[in-house]
């Protein structure tokens, strides 16, 4: 092919192709007959093509699924291995906790706590935070000496119950006293409240109570778990030669607690 004929033929072919494509000429009745006839001739090839296409798609699909399944299988195996490891770790932790529990003499049978959710409605106007008023009183069956906590810390004891409110004395008040243990040791002491620090009473001179030890309120009946009351701030020789003078700084800040939990004592 030479010169203009080549260009004309090519451009004509391109235009023809585009016209065929955009006008769908093959769907017109007079062209359709030709197309149908042509398709009939090559139908075995088209059928073969469709068959190969379908089979290839199916095989690829099966392959991809197999790959997915084997990958998922690997991931699950890895996860199971980690979970088994975790289970062993938890078993070890459980066994450690059990031995710790035996060592500390902590009751195992904490019954389901009977508690009421409340919140502070009034604070000590003196600023010493020696008491606060909380929602709930006789209307919610609160009683004197019910324990008030926030998270794991002691807020105080219910001192007086009114109609729909109760007065709670905090560990910063001289009216507050309770049984406590220091650190993880078994020996019990009496904590007496005070501002800004309370006292641990009758701590013998040989007792290993040190500054920084944490002080926990405990339930003598073993119904409730220990709650954090404060930290030993100062330990010094007292006036009595047989006892130490131990000062405890309560960790309670009733103004920070959003919700308070009033744990009802046994009825």
């Amino acid at each position: 092919m030479k010169g203009g004929r080549f260009h004309l033929l090519t451009i004509g072919g391109v235009v023809l192709g585009l016209v065929l494509f955009f006008t769908d000429l093959s769907r017109f009745s007079y062209v359709r007959a030709v197309v149908v006839a042509f398709n009939t001739v090559i139908s075995p090839v088209l059928n073969l093509k469709e068959k190969i296409l379908t089979e290839t798609e199916e095989k690829i699909d099966v392959y991809l699924r197999t790959v997915d399944v084997s990958r998922e299988n690997r991931e699950l195996k890895e996860r199971i291995r980690k979970l088994l490891l975790r289970e062993k770790e938890l078993e070890a932790c459980e066994s450690e906790l059990e031995s710790l529990r035996k060592l500390l003499g902590i009751s195992r049978g904490f019954s389901r706590l009977d508690y009421v959710v409340s919140r502070a409605v009034y604070y000590d106007p003196s600023g010493f935070d020696q008491f606060l008023i909380i929602e709930g009183g006789k209307d919610r069956n609160l009683r004197e000496r019910d324990l008030v906590v926030s998270k794991d810390k002691v807020v105080g004891f219910v001192e007086a119950v009114f109609g729909s409110t109760s007065r709670v004395v905090t560990p910063l008040s001289g009216k507050f006293s309770c049984t406590v243990v220091v650190g993880g040791r078994k020996k019990r002491y009496i904590y007496r409240g005070g501002y800004p620090v309370g006292d641990l009473l009758h701590v013998r001179i040989e007792d290993p109570v040190r500054e920084g030890d944490r002080v926990f309120l405990i339930d003598t009946e073993g119904r409730t778990p220990p709650f954090l009351l404060g930290v030993v701030e100062k330990v010094r020789r007292g006036k009595d030669p047989f006892f130490k003078e131990v000062k405890v700084r309560p960790l309670t800040d009733p103004r920070e607690a959003e919700y308070l939990f009033v744990i009802r004592r046994g009825r």
Partner: protein
Amino acid sequence: MRYLILILSLVFVQTSLLQVFFSPGFVAPDLLLIALLSRAYLTGRDAVLWAFFGGALLDIMTDTLGLNLALETLSVYLFVLMNEKIFFKTWLTYLTGAGFSLLLKKVLSLVVMSVKFSFSFSFPSVLLALLLEVLIASAVYFAYLKKKE
């Protein structure tokens, strides 16, 4: 005759196998165009007639009457024109022309199809197809065309 069988086989492989791996199918590596470009590289303008034939055949197999007829012809035509302007032939001159024609065919087929139909395509898939085409074209050059020059 050998070339006819080659074109038939390539069209068949392209429509029944390669189009499975790419979505939409028409972005799959265009083996037919690579064969046509190789032919055009060796025989010049006569390859345009093969482009008519091959394009029409591809259209019948993929039920897109006219699309490949137009684009294969246009790509081969431009490749022939570019080849005629070159005084010396090297791998780079061949690949520049072939790469341009392959890219043009791919872009135009996407544009033309998107005018008529609504479909989604992934750019990496198109790029992969184009890369494969360039690699195959290079392989064909070193394995066959270089010896026939």
